[in-house]
Symmetry: C2
Subunit: 337 residues, 2 copies
């Protein structure tokens, strides 16, 4: 399924996230301590499996957004840190269950947890992390924030089920696909940002602006990921590239190429997305995406959402945190190359 | 794996639960409406799969305990009903994930959801129901109650992982097994009862007494279930009987027979619980349980916990609700015959 060459930009610790992490170094350290404290369990499999995923070097982009949103609004401190840890736990639980659903073999450059500990352990430890995320939120004592994240959790699950139902459905429309992305990916980015503002006591316009920022950034993030799954603009195959194709996920690049294709191309997409796929089909798919400029158009769509994220920040106070958040959309787009 | 004869007492709608349901008919109807309202999703698989499980005629014993606890304490109304629905959602999510873990084929007399919709859908719809349980709790606006149920959710997941880790471990001790039962089953009964008291504004002695009641009742409930899995005292095989044996779950009847057995018997248990099992082995297992009176001793242990549940009610106000709750332990024990 394509050469498994590491995608340099993807692994090198990109500038904008690093800058945000440096700006929030103290907060982030506290969040990591909270995460490890709440992973503890006398049941050994739990911390072992959870650490395998959580310590594998994720970028912590979602908790960073929560922390930055809180600081931007003049808040921060213990509550925001607990929320940020809760956001990372929700994300981690989702990854564990995703890998079971997708029968993944790799995650963050390591063997996936389901491959090592089995599907059952991944399901149950995901449940544990999900429950712990609510323990952390309860510790903040902030019911408004619980509301935001509990709603996001429902929407994420709906998005995952929508994606499952759409798998191997070659006729998936662009509209439907974007609804999946909004639910499965953007909802948590949006909630992470909004919750940061709300826990800083800015439940009004600031929270709404940050929610929009998070949603738009999340949409851009997922679309870039979708392009990377076919090699991105540099056609360099990253570590999990080809997975969407293998799993029959009709992502935006496929939607664009399919809708622009002639009858024989549409028949090809119908066949390969419908379930009959060989390794050679992946190369034909890549060629068709190139013919119709589908990866560039996907990145263009991502750029529009990245712009939307930047615009959403305009109404917010200018400070080190809003400036750092304003650079994240660029980071997201840079990953495409 | 033994004749699949229905266990009459198990299906006939036992008296004490019916009485409780009649006493709380209005509440229960409202809870069912809440459950159905919160199962709604534009993603069709979700309500279909959820309804398959939730409408299959579960006894609603956990939400009934929440409702009765609230009424007993002079509370009730909207908050208690939402909590009761949340409790049922947590339970339902657990059942969906359990069936994936255990590769179950049947649940509540129907084909299990994982068999019809697949494991992935069961995992994700379980996640959805779990998230919705928190949506419902947030609607009550009661952070104390959220704390109780979020903690219970963590403990349940720990119990499930403990059980998974202990499967096929023929040396599981009685102490370890009871810790699994306390976590995977009794924690939700305890939280359901305690949350009812707390939402009625009785977070002190009443909540503690009801928590103990729930825990003890849950322990009794699970031990009776364990005995039923080998035919119970009447040696009538219920609908899921034999499952624990097939799954290598070392439950209390096995612990008792193993510890009382001679060397050759212990070698048998080591072999069959360790993973090498034939259908004939099940009959030998039943014979060994009979020889050592292991099912009767398991029910005796259940009876002690049932007594503990009744004792816990002694300090509470005497009213129709405490009287109805006082009868549930008998119902739990009657299931054993």
């Amino acid at each position: 399924m394509g050469p498994a060459v590491g995608h340099a930009k993807r692994n090198a610790g990109p500038h904008a996230v690093d800058r945000l992490a440096a700006l929030l170094a103290e907060d982030l350290e506290a969040v990591d301590a909270l995460i490890h404290h709440h992973m503890v369990s006398p049941v050994g499999v739990i911390p072992n499996l959870a650490a395998h995923l959580i310590d594998a070097g994720g970028k912590r982009i979602r908790p960073l957004i929560t922390l930055a949103a809180a600081r931007l609004c003049g808040g921060g401190g213990d509550g925001a840190r607990k929320l940020a840890a809760a956001v990372e736990f929700i994300h981690s639980a989702t990854l564990l269950h995703d890998d079971v659903v997708d029968v993944s073999a790799m995650r963050r450059g390591r063997k996936s947890a389901n491959l090592i500990w089995g599907n059952s352990a991944s399901v149950l430890v995901g449940d544990f992390l999900f429950a712990r995320s609510f323990n952390l939120m309860v510790e903040t004592g902030d019911i408004q924030v619980l509301d935001i994240l509990a709603r996001a959790a429902s929407v994420i699950a709906e998005g995952e089920v929508m994606q499952l139902a759409a798998a191997n459905d070659a006729e998936t429309t662009r509209e439907r696909y974007m609804a999946i992305v909004a639910a499965k990916t953007a909802a948590l980015f949006a909630a992470a940002a909004k919750a940061g503002a709300v826990c800083a006591g800015r439940a009004g316009a600031e929270a709404t602006a940050l929610e929009t920022y998070g949603r738009e950034l999340g949409l851009a993030f997922q679309l870039v990921d979708d392009a990377l799954d076919y090699g991105g603009l540099s056609q360099t195959m990253g570590k999990n590239a080809g997975d969407d194709f293998k799993e029959g996920k009709v992502t935006l690049p496929v939607v664009i190429a399919r809708d622009a294709g002639d009858d024989s191309e549409r028949a090809f997409w119908r066949r390969v997305m419908g379930g009959e796929r060989s390794d050679d089909d992946f190369y034909r798919a890549q060629a068709l995406l190139k013919r119709h400029d589908a990866l560039a158009m996907t990145i263009e769509a991502a750029r529009e959402h990245a712009d939307g994220a930047r615009r959403a920040l305009a109404s917010l106070p200018g400070n080190a945190y809003s400036e750092a958040l304003a650079q994240l959309p660029d980071f997201v787009l840079e990953r495409a190359y």
